[in-house]
């Protein structure tokens, strides 16, 4: 294991601005150490992929970004997770997790629409923020559904239950729900693990469009997916970031043998 993080040199003239940075983050579930001194930059309006074998801590790291761990007892963390431009440490005790989740949305592995209408699913984030105006809600729901490339398929049946959609459509509905509140960043936890190849390709297409507007952090088990959609990739193993770099660099010329073994399928 290496002490200093081997960061591939950026090939582009200038790296984009930072949206968030993780410094010295360790995380424990009870006595089990899931993250061990993680350092990670997340660049603004880019897609950053977290890859690594099962149990390497990538989902744990992702869920730190919107304080999902606060919902469950028996875990604790040290270190900092700074969100820019306002330099706030998202893990700070005085930072309200609700405030964090208002800025950073999340899409889960298994599509989890609420047992409500398509419209109400998308409107929920706005409703919890106190939005009551039907005009505003209508407009934002349409906008979000358009951004999630779902509008044309559902515009005539917004009152149907969300569960009536197919798996891929449900996942796009969940993306629309996340987009409706105009978050600064969206976390994707293996968003296509439960989907067929066609739906997967739709979601991947969508992600590359989304990065025009939001920062995307994605956990994936699918190496090709990471290579296709991400600008930066971090390879994790045993709770540490082993290698981080531009996706093209990392996949074509990995600096470490271990990374190469993983991405070529010889390990993990």
């Amino acid at each position: 294991m290496v002490d200093r993080l081997p960061v591939a040199k950026p090939a582009r003239p200038a790296a984009p601005a930072l949206k968030a940075s993780v410094t010295g983050l360790s995380f424990h579930y009870g006595a089990h150490k899931a993250l061990d001194g993680v350092e990670l930059p997340v660049y603004d309006r880019c897609v950053t992929a977290l890859i690594g074998p099962s149990g390497c801590g990538k989902t744990t790291l992702l869920r730190c970004f919107n304080r999902m761990h606060d919902l469950y007892p028996g875990n604790h963390c040290q270190g900092e997770l700074t969100l820019y431009p306002d330099n706030v440490n998202l893990l700070g005790r005085q930072v309200d997790p609700i405030a964090v989740r208002m800025r950073i949305a999340m899409v889960f592995q298994k599509p989890n629409p609420f047992p409500r209408s398509i419209y109400e699913n998308v409107a929920y984030g706005l409703r919890v923020r106190g939005e009551r105006s039907r005009v505003v809600l209508d407009e934002k729901v349409e906008q979000a559904l358009r951004s999630a490339a779902l509008w044309d398929e559902v515009k005539d049946r917004l009152d149907d239950p969300g569960a009536s959609l197919s798996g891929g459509q449900q996942q796009r509905l969940c993306i629309a729900r996340a987009l409706a509140t105009e978050p600064e960043m969206i976390l994707f936890d293996e968003p296509t693990a439960a989907l067929d190849p066609m739906a997967t390709s739709n979601i991947e297409q969508l992600m590359t469009e989304l990065k025009q507007r939001v920062t995307v952090l994605i956990v994936t088990h699918n190496m090709q997916q990471a290579a296709r959609v991400s600008d930066y990739t971090a390879y994790m193993y045993m709770g540490r970031i082993i290698e981080f770099g531009e996706t093209d660099e990392l996949f074509i010329r990995p600096r470490l043998k271990q990374t190469e073994d993983y991405i070529t399928g010889r390990f993990g």
């Binding site: 989740r101 989890n112 047992p115 929920y124 919890v128 239950p161 569960a163 996340a178």
Partner: protein
Amino acid sequence: MSADRAAYYRVAIRRRRHLDVAFAVVGLGCLMLGVLTLTVLFVEMAVQGLPRLGIDFLMAFPSRHPGEAGVLAAWVGSLAIMAVTALAAVPMGVAAGIYLEEYAPRNLLTTIIEINVTNLAGVPSIIYGLTALGLFVYLFGLGHSVLTAGLTLALLILPIIIVATREALRTVPDSQREAAYACGASTWQAIRDHVVPGAAPGILTGIIIGLARAIGETAPLIAIGAVTFVAFLPPSPVSPDFPFISLDWLMAPFTALPVQMFNWTVRPEEAFRANAAAAAFVLVLMTLGMNGLAIWLRYRLRRQTRW
């Protein structure tokens, strides 16, 4: 496969099949024993009681003459007591269940409370009656009233509702909670908008099963001083004069169907047995009606909620 082997497997399979059949027969026997006993009891009760059952029986006050006695005061009393019980036990039980399941920190105190609640559900009802006699009747001075009876039964079914609420809440998948929180919802918003609606079928079933248990309770009502001969109804809850709502019925003396039944069964006259059977029939119908309502509500709500 050689011939011996095939023969060996045939024998082995046959032996296991026999065991299957044997267990099915034993299980069916146990089931029938319970169901048949209940059916026989129910039929006997119906045969004894049905001749007495009619509008007159439902609309008459008790009487010294078995042929004229009725259950008007009893069923009205039962309904009034159930109203108090439901109003007291449902909000408290559901709120307590939500707190324990969704808010309470996992520590020693919570564990102690949880164990106590679960144990309270198994405490004999006469204990509740005696506790209520000391607490509501003597300490709070509420008298031998509808209010006391309702609160006593509320106390009795509170643990049932709390436990049912918690179990219903546990059936809501964490993915739903996480989805709500990820949208920026507060704990209360997540609970109100998603967790409780998702758990509603189970909570409702728990409430109705609790109330069905309460409506048949006799011992605690006798302990707190139910009157067995009530020849009047409690004052009406609505009055023609301002403020149009009257709470006097809460303080009225009460009787209830099971108390009335109990009273008739201990009378020496044989003719009162028929009255008791008829009253039992009414009580069973009320309970069945409540359980039917629970099943129907659960079916309706389950259809709406699919995760």
